[in-house]
């Protein structure tokens, strides 16, 4: 057997063991199931929801009507069904959440690895920048970015991704330091491995499990950020999102009119999805970090 196939067999066995551990963790399992359901619903939305149900000119319901037999969650200010819109809105939230989290974790991982790997002033500079972003009120910065750039989904993803990478960077830096202290890294260096080689082929696989867990948790906070930005009026025009629905509810006087059917579903949806990612992420951490097992 070749070296790489041995490595892959080892990984497969480890994966199987990890999966068994993960299943055993009840809350993690619940989180995963919830996410699975939401993902399926989100993917089915464009197929099952008819265009006419999203159209304002073809809307047939009354304005801000309470739930009844036809509209299970009542109607919003244009007469469309709140249930349909909440279902459809899952797409934007998941898309933005996952993309922003990937961007954030991507930046954080690169910065963290570089900061730990190199010594001297590049490391100090990266550390200072990381510190800077860590303490800055990130929402304020994201708001400013969203205002400078044109409104749209790419802007929101960029704004969230660029302002929330620092805790990942810290984490990856700490982990990289630990990994690089191990003897096999030194051996690789002696054998002539350059920076890129060590980082990509040795450090990255070692930090990867942690990064994965971190990503799952980051998606949760990215979804909250996206809904907050949409609520503050910085959302993408023409898209249906949970934060945007809550903003419209507030603007059209749902609070004064007591339209609870409009104000509850989008918020509850956010809580469920974020909770799902958080539970799954924490379970993943427990699985990958044996030290945490007794403590969760």
């Amino acid at each position: 057997m070749s070296a790489s196939s041995i490595a892959w067999t080892r990984r497969r066995v480890a994966l199987g063991a990890a999966w068994k551990l993960f299943i055993a963790n009840r809350s993690g399992l619940i989180g995963l199931i919830v996410l699975g359901v939401v993902l399926v619903l989100a993917l089915l939305a464009p197929l099952l929801v008819d265009d006419s149900q999203l159209s304002v000119t073809k809307a047939t319901g009354g304005v801000l009507d309470p739930p009844d037999g036809e509209y299970w969650l009542g109607t919003e200010e244009n007469g469309r069904s709140v249930l349909i819109l909440t279902w459809y809105g899952a797409q934007v939230s998941l898309l933005v959440g996952i993309s922003a989290a990937l961007l954030s974790v991507g930046i954080g991982t690169i910065v963290g690895m570089l900061a730990a790997h190199f010594r001297g002033w590049p490391s100090a500079l990266l550390l200072r920048v990381t510190d800077f972003f860590l303490v800055l009120p990130s929402l304020v910065l994201a708001i400013v970015l969203s205002t400078v750039l044109a409104r749209g989904l790419p802007t929101i993803i960029l704004a969230i991704g660029v302002t929330s990478w620092s805790s990942t960077a810290r984490l990856v830096r700490a982990q990289t330091l630990t990994v690089e202290a191990r003897p096999f890294i030194e051996r690789a260096q002696v054998l002539g491995g350059g920076h890129a080689h060590i980082l990509v082929r040795h450090v990255l696989p070692a930090v990867f499990p942690l990064v994965l867990a971190n990503t799952t948790l980051t998606v949760g906070s990215a979804i909250i950020s996206e809904s907050t930005l949409a609520f503050l009026g910085l959302g993408a025009p023409g898209t249906v999102s949970w934060g945007g629905m809550l903003k419209s509810a507030l603007d059209t006087g749902a609070v004064t009119a007591g339209a609870w059917w409009y104000l509850l579903p989008p918020g509850i949806a956010i809580v469920i999805v974020v909770l799902g990612f958080t539970l799954a992420g924490r379970a993943l951490e427990t699985v990958l970090n044996p030290n945490l097992r007794g403590r969760r």
Binding site: L127, R128, D131, F132, L134, V135, L136, P137, S138, L139, V140, L141, A142, I143, V144, L145, T147, V148, I160, T163, S164, S167, T168, R170, L171, R173, A174, L177, A213, N214, L217, G220, S221, I224, S225, S227, T228, F231, L232, G243, L246, L250, V255, G258, L263, P266, G267, I270, V271, V274, L275, T278, G281, R282, E285, N289, N291, L292, G294, R295
Partner: protein, 345 residues
């Protein structure tokens, strides 16, 4: 908007590299202050260029309801030096900043410093109260949950914390507002004082307190979870340490072991986390202030975005970021001074 619910094994990992063990305290303090100053400079420069990239001529909005003539428009442009080059404006900005002049707000047409000064008290009151309450609540619950690890209490508090952490701050604020202020009519729906003011010193304090309850409650509910989880995981890590087994073997009661040994040691990195997350608290203040119409810096910032009133936004960012940076420098210094592990090395 933050940072993930702490994924590190313990808080010490997160703060690990910040404190050089050994080296004189003086050099450490000097390095920290120097670092803080660099950060402040970065904020100032960032503030200027970020907002100058924001287009927005306020003149037309102002005259919309009362159409003026071309000379009037020119005069207003000169007033805000919109006719100078970008570099010229930057130089003016730095010079003014040295004099403590943050410019004049487009929207309110008053000095930015005055506006910020008027509103900072309200934000400090809100975030300060929320910080104290959520730290107290988070630490207390976190300690108890860790000590009763695996019990019903532990499971319940962890579950509640996770759920509340998953709730968007603004939505929780909206629900709280509707249930307690609009529905039950127990609390006011907006502002910091009753409209028209309240006579008398003591009644006005109570009036402000009455208005403070809901916004503070909302912030605490979302933020305390972070402190709870950090304290809990730090304490759990401590509890497995050898010296505690020794203490118990010596015959010390559980409570004493906890409060005299484990908790203080677990507290140290937790405190640093608390300071690190002040930035998050301020971000939360923006949404809470909007929902409850609390007249603080957060609401001012939000309204300034709509214009965009960039002198005001610059000033706001500098003040908020500056405050957070200063607090962190102080926290680092204090931590270094009180951490027994560092002193002895």
């Amino acid at each position: 908007m933050v940072d993930v619910l702490t994924t590190t094994e313990s808080a010490t990992d997160l703060v690990g590299g910040r404190f050089g063990r050994g080296g004189s305290t003086l050099r450490f303090v000097a390095a920290k202050i120097g670092g803080g100053l660099v950060s402040l400079v970065m904020v100032v420069v960032l503030g200027f260029f970020l907002f100058r990239a924001m287009p927005g001529n306020p003149v037309r909005t102002l005259i919309r309801d009362r159409p003026g003539d071309l000379e009037q428009v020119e005069r207003l442009r000169r007033e805000w030096s919109l006719d100078k080059s970008l570099f010229g404006q930057f130089v003016d900005y730095i010079v003014d900043l040295a004099h403590g002049d943050l410019g004049t707000s487009f929207k309110y047409r008053q000095p930015v410093t005055d506006l910020l000064w008027d509103r900072v008290g309200a934000t400090v009151l809100l975030t300060g109260t929320a910080l104290v309450l959520s730290v107290a609540l988070g630490l207390w619950l976190g300690t108890r949950a860790a000590w009763r690890h695996g019990s019903r209490f532990d499971q319940l508090s962890t579950a509640t914390a996770l759920v509340l952490w998953s709730v968007p701050t603004f939505w929780l604020g909206l629900i709280v507002l509707i249930v307690f202020a609009v529905g039950l009519d127990l609390f006011p729906t907006a502002g910091m004082v009753s409209p028209g003011g309240v006579d008398g010193f003591f009644p006005s304090i109570l009036d402000t307190g009455h208005h403070l309850v809901l916004p503070a409650l909302t912030m605490v509910a979302v933020v305390y979870a972070q402190y709870l989880m950090v304290m809990r995981s730090s304490l759990l890590e401590e509890m497995n340490a050898d010296y505690l087994t020794t203490a118990r073997a010596k015959g010390l009661r559980d409570d004493d072991v906890r409060s005299k040994h484990a908790v203080p040691n677990a507290l140290l990195p937790t405190v640093t986390i608390i300071f690190l997350h002040v930035g998050f608290l301020i971000s939360g203040a923006v949404t809470v202030e909007k929902v409850f119409s609390w007249p603080g810096l957060g609401l001012l910032t939000y309204e300034a975005i709509q214009v965009p009133d960039y002198p005001l936004l610059q000033g706001s960012l500098i003040v908020l970021a500056g405050a957070v940076i200063v607090m962190n420098v102080l926290a680092d210094i204090v931590y270094r001074l009180i951490d027994p592990r560092v002193r002895t090395s």
